[in-house]
Symmetry: D3
Subunit: 67 residues, 6 copies
């Protein structure tokens, strides 16, 4: 029954990586808290780099600088 939300920048996450995130988060909740995997939900949000800011600037700008 847990709900996990993972937000990352939209920079080429593959379907295989999404599968690994879902499997890993579900296993984590099962192992640490004994939660039932059958009802564990994981939602992945891929956020455009223009829409994610850190340190007061857009990730897009940081990427242009190589950060």
């Amino acid at each position: 029954m847990p709900y996990v939300n993972i937000k990352v920048t939209n920079e080429g996450v593959t379907k295989e990586q999404k599968q690994a995130l879902v499997a890993g988060a579900t296993e984590l909740l099962s192992r640490v808290l004994g939660k039932n995997p059958a009802t564990t939900i994981v939602v992945i949000d891929e956020v455009e780099t223009d829409n994610w800011g850190i340190a007061g600037e857009l990730v897009t700008e940081r990427r242009l600088r190589g950060a």
Copy 2:
């Protein structure tokens, strides 16, 4: 003033269905808690089936199996 967020998989929700979700959620908050419909906000997130996991796997895979 309530805020309602509805997350569903992105599998062909029509504009009419969205309108029904907004009207229904707003009516629910008004009826149960007496909240003012004029300031009730409803946001619908349509999540790709590749980005939604349940039971440790992607919804995309479940749909391929007919689940």
Copy 3:
């Protein structure tokens, strides 16, 4: 499998009202989109009036004015 989050101010919502919100939101998703009630999750957040702002001021202040 839908996930619904309802945020309201913490002003005496009873357990019966919470039950009505959960039942109503689950029914709404089933009726409008045909979603399976068995895996529909509803989470209710009760937010302190000091932590909810609208129109640039805290709800606490609005309540003191009778708004």
Copy 4:
């Protein structure tokens, strides 16, 4: 370390406006609470007008009426 999420309707927000939102929110947390800008995250969600409801109707409908 704060996390700020800004949800607005998807109606032509420019990159410069997104930069201003990120810079402004980061400055706000630093000025009011002394939070370190280097680890302040801001995520902007642009929500389609078909997916945002207020007062029981979709924003799309309100825009058609000029509201």
Copy 5:
């Protein structure tokens, strides 16, 4: 820079379990996507069983039935 939110019912999660969830989610993002652990944020929400609904009823009721 990823942001992970884990929502579980408030049923006695210990500080050691919270530490394990934070460490596990951070490791997951690093291993699968190469994300920098130093800026990965994990927020755990413990939701009262009166405020969490599944299958149209409150978790509190399900627990009373032994579910």
Copy 6:
């Protein structure tokens, strides 16, 4: 109509600081995007330091080390 959510650790935020956050975020949306302050909602979440992780550890532990 924008919705802003601010998450910070629960470390003594005063009511005056909450008021400043609400006023500041509302002004920011009005100034940058021309949004109507009357319908701008701001919700502040104060998260326990045991429930906030960064760099793979709980904020509680970091505070004990003086970080």
